[in-house]
């Protein structure tokens, strides 16, 4: 069994109102040293595969297809082998 971590982040330059809102509210709470906040998704996938390579390829395909919207988002995948 493999576990994949998929990180989906907004492309540079694309507005992140959520990140901005969080940053502003932290400022109000007195955290004045925060430069920037960007919010994204973290998706964990447990899957069967013959090899790490196969798992990686599959999760990359899934990410392109379903998990990330490539018009506005980038993604990154990590795969590790885990116990059933």
């Amino acid at each position: 069994m493999f576990k994949a971590n998929v990180y989906v982040t907004l492309k540079n330059g694309v507005l992140d109102p959520q990140g901005d809102a969080v940053k502003n509210s932290l400022q109000v709470l007195g955290y004045n040293n925060i430069d920037k906040i960007r919010t994204g998704k973290f998706i964990e996938i447990w899957l069967d595969a013959k090899s790490e390579k196969e798992a990686m390829e599959q999760v990359e395909a899934i990410s392109e297809k379903l998990l990330a919207n490539l018009v506005v988002e980038d993604y990154r995948v990590e795969v590790v082998e885990v116990e059933k």
């Binding site: 330059g13 694309v14 507005l15 109102p17 901005d20 502003n24 919207n69 506005v72």
Partner: protein, 734 residues
């Protein structure tokens, strides 16, 4: 960022020559960029201006017609409704969620820029074949985007329409209509104010969003435009909500000389528009503009289409208070320049002058093309189609097919994602009638709003089809009890440089104009979206009509649901068998052809009068117009909505049966009424020369339609509800 030539920016050789002539010198890169967006089809209306001039725009009810951010219509008691419909097609094709969301954001800004509180949104959508996965993704994304933005704002989305046709496979249409309520003495205008007035930019920071978006949306989509794609603009409904509240507070305190939102072509367009209205000049310092990213150039700052920004020209001495109120709402607001008297648009970066253009060169000197229209061969071919070659199919099965067709099936999957009740004004909610009805609190009045267009009809016959669209909108209003007051339109077409497309535009605009005059609903606002083509394949011509109507007494409203057993079911208007352009021909026979049934505008007007007088006399228990799917589908919808049955018998007089049931001929309405009201209705209709015919009655359950006494349709209301209700969820998931 790559250096672009004037051609990359969408200007052709003649236009560039004209630019040189107007300016008397070569523009620098910033100036060229500013010209190219202002002279784009989107901002400059190059191909459509001569046509738009022919639309009727006047009437005693019109306070402000086309030309401002939105039209303004008098509804009495010192109040007015502000409304406009606008497209966001090409951004939605690229990124449906953000494209549709920012479409709503843009039209809502047009409304509150006029000083009005936004009270409703409607959305008019066109997508390709819904069996296609890509189309499903676009549909789902666009609906979610409209929901995400409108719901976040707390402005109800009260109506709209969705149609599916392969003509939109590559080019979906996302049009949104904004509606606002304003006290007439608080209307704000997009004017520059007095010389020396500061220009305040309020709202979101400026990023590198959608640079050259206006140009992009004025071109056909192709592989090469895909690379030119600007950064997708993302919407922030929260910021917009703050902007609404802040701007309306500014107006309430009477602090504003002029206001102009930043939309297509960003700062360039909004500053130039505001200055041009009073033939003023302006100077602005881009280094004062709050930026989201570091290192933005003047070019980028002037052209960025970042959302949720507003340019405010305060009344003399009120700038501090304006900024204070913006800050109270958590909005950044800074002075970025001032109004001058030299007619020039000067752009500084700090103390350095980086661009200087005559304001009017940007706004008024934009080239205008009177293009050539030519009747395409398809027009006659379709008119030569012989309906008698179409074999009649099993009527009950055909009805089921129609109920399943996504264009006819229930749109609850769509509107249940929209908050349509917030503000507690929506007294007829989506799905209950062809138009939504909103009460105007503290008055006995209500307004009704709708959007309509059957683009297959427009394709087959642009003149008739456009008149039909206007008439359907008016009829939908009259069905709920509202008198049509004014209309807004969004002209979605293909490439106007093609003579057959321009021909469609010419005839459609003539159709709108003629119907608008006949039905006394002048055009007060609108928008044009051209070049909706991919690899030269264009959409159906789609002039969406958004219409506003008034109910003097909200208690005269009516919906489409059958309500009481033994009520008579009466057809107002004529039985008709013409199947040209019908959904039946499309769904059951795979044909999109035929002669579009001709509309008689005098008769339409008379029908509307019958309806309005009937509502006043409280004659009806339900009222529903006949449109897609014809008489049969209208009856089924009224039955489903009321959870009742209906028993109908029609004498065919040897006319074709499928025609009688499924013709989409206009100017027809189904009402139900207590038998004791029949005489009054007949007299009323007769006095206005509208035919009435009792078709049958409302029963407890089951929809049974007989022709010459033989049962042609028999379907349980529950089953019909399930087929009609589940068609879209079955494809899209619950």
């Amino acid at each position: 960022m790559a250096v672009l030539t004037y051609k990359d920016m969408g200007l052709n050789d003649e236009e560039y020559a004209k630019l040189l002539e107007v300016l008397g010198r070569e523009p620098n890169y910033l100036e060229l960029g500013m010209f190219s967006v202002m002279w784009s089809e989107h901002c400059g209306y190059k191909s459509s201006k001569p046509l738009l001039k022919t639309l009727p725009t006047e009437g005693p009810q019109v306070i402000i017609g086309p030309g401002e951010n939105a039209g303004v219509v008098d509804i009495g008691d010192g109040q007015a409704i502000v409304f406009k419909i606008e497209s966001h097609n090409s951004p939605s094709a690229v990124e449906p969620y953000q494209g549709a969301a920012t479409g709503v954001g843009g039209i809502i800004r047009d409304i509150f820029t006029m000083g009005a509180r936004p009270i409703a949104v409607l959305d008019s959508l066109r997508f390709g074949n819904l069996d296609d996965e890509k189309v499903q993704r676009l549909f789902k994304g666009a609906v979610a985007g409209i929901a995400g933005y409108g719901n976040g704002l707390g402005v109800p989305t009260v109506g709209g329409e969705v149609y599916f046709n392969p003509a939109y496979n590559e080019n979906p249409l996302v049009n949104a209509m904004g509606v606002g309520l304003v006290n007439i003495d608080e209307i704000a205008l997009a004017v520059a104010g007095e010389v020396g007035s500061p220009l305040i930019l309020a709202g979101a920071k400026t990023g590198r969003d959608g640079i050259h978006g206006a140009t992009f949306s004025s071109e056909e989509l192709s592989d090469s435009t895909k690379d030119k794609r600007p950064t997708v603009q993302a919407g922030d409904p929260f910021m917009e909500k703050l902007l609404i509240e802040a701007c309306l507070e500014l107006i309430a305190e009477d602090l504003v000389a002029g206001m102009q939102d930043l939309g297509a072509a960003g700062l360039t367009s909004s500053v130039a528009e505001a200055a041009s209205k009073k033939e003023r000049g302006v100077k602005i310092d881009v280094s004062q503009v709050p930026c989201r990213e570091s290192g933005m150039t003047p070019y980028e700052i002037m052209l960025a289409e970042s959302q949720e920004r507003m340019l405010i020209v305060p009344k003399s001495g009120q700038d501090k208070r304006v900024i204070e109120i913006c800050n109270k709402w958590g909005l950044e607001a800074v002075v970025i320049g001032e109004v001058t008297d030299d007619g020039l648009f000067k752009i500084y970066e700090g103390s350095k002058l980086v661009g200087e253009l005559p304001v009017l060169a940007l706004t008024d000197d934009c080239p205008v093309y009177v293009r050539e229209g030519k009747e395409p061969s398809y027009y006659k071919e379709h008119r030569n189609f012989d309906e008698t070659t179409v074999a009649e199919k099993d009527l009950n099965k055909s009805l089921v097919e129609l109920l399943k067709s996504p264009s006819i099936a229930s749109k609850k999957w769509v509107f249940s994602q929209y908050d349509h009740q917030v503000m507690t004004n929506t007294v007829i909610v989506p799905g209950e009638a062809g138009a939504a009805v909103l009460r105007i609190k503290d008055t006995p009045k209500g307004i009704a709003v709708t959007t309509d267009c059957n683009s297959r009809m427009v394709y087959l016959d642009p003149y008739q089809g456009a008149m039909m669209a206007v008439s359907e909108a008016a009829r939908n209003l009259a069905c709920v009890g509202a008198k049509p007051l004014a209309l807004s339109n969004c002209l979605n077409f293909g490439n106007p440089e093609k003579p057959d497309i321009y021909w469609q535009m010419q005839l459609a605009v003539k159709g709108i104009a003629d119907a608008s005059i006949a039905l006394d609903a002048p055009v007060v606002s609108g928008n044009v979206s051209l070049y909706n083509e991919t690899e030269s394949v264009g959409i159906y011509p789609t002039p969406i009509i958004g219409m506003l109507g008034i109910l003097d007494d909200i208690n005269h409203r009516q919906d489409m649901a059958f309500k009481t057993e033994d009520d008579l079911v009466v057809l107002l208007g004529d039985l008709n068998v013409s199947l040209g352009g019908s959904e039946y021909l499309y769904v059951c026979h795979g044909l999109e052809t035929g002669i579009v049934p001709e509309i008689n505008l005098k008769q339409e007007r008379a029908l509307i009068d019958v309806l309005l007088q009937g509502h006043k006399q409280k004659l009806f228990n339900s009222c529903h117009d006949i449109s897609e799917g014809g008489l049969a589908v209208a009856l089924v919808e009224s039955a489903i909505k009321g959870n009742m049955g209906v028993k109908i018998d029609i004498a065919t007089n040897n006319r074709r049966k499928d025609g009688l049931l499924f013709s989409e001929a206009p100017t027809r309405v189904i009402v139900s009424l207590n038998p004791s009201n029949l005489k009054k209705l007949e007299e009323l209709a007769k006095s206005l020369r509208i035919t009435t015919q009792v078709l049958g009655k409302v029963v407890d359950q089951d929809i049974v339609i007989s022709l010459d006494g033989d049962e042609a349709i028999n379907i349980g209301t529950d089953l019909a509800q399930e087929i009609w209700g589940e068609a879209i969820p079955c494809i899209m998931g619950k």
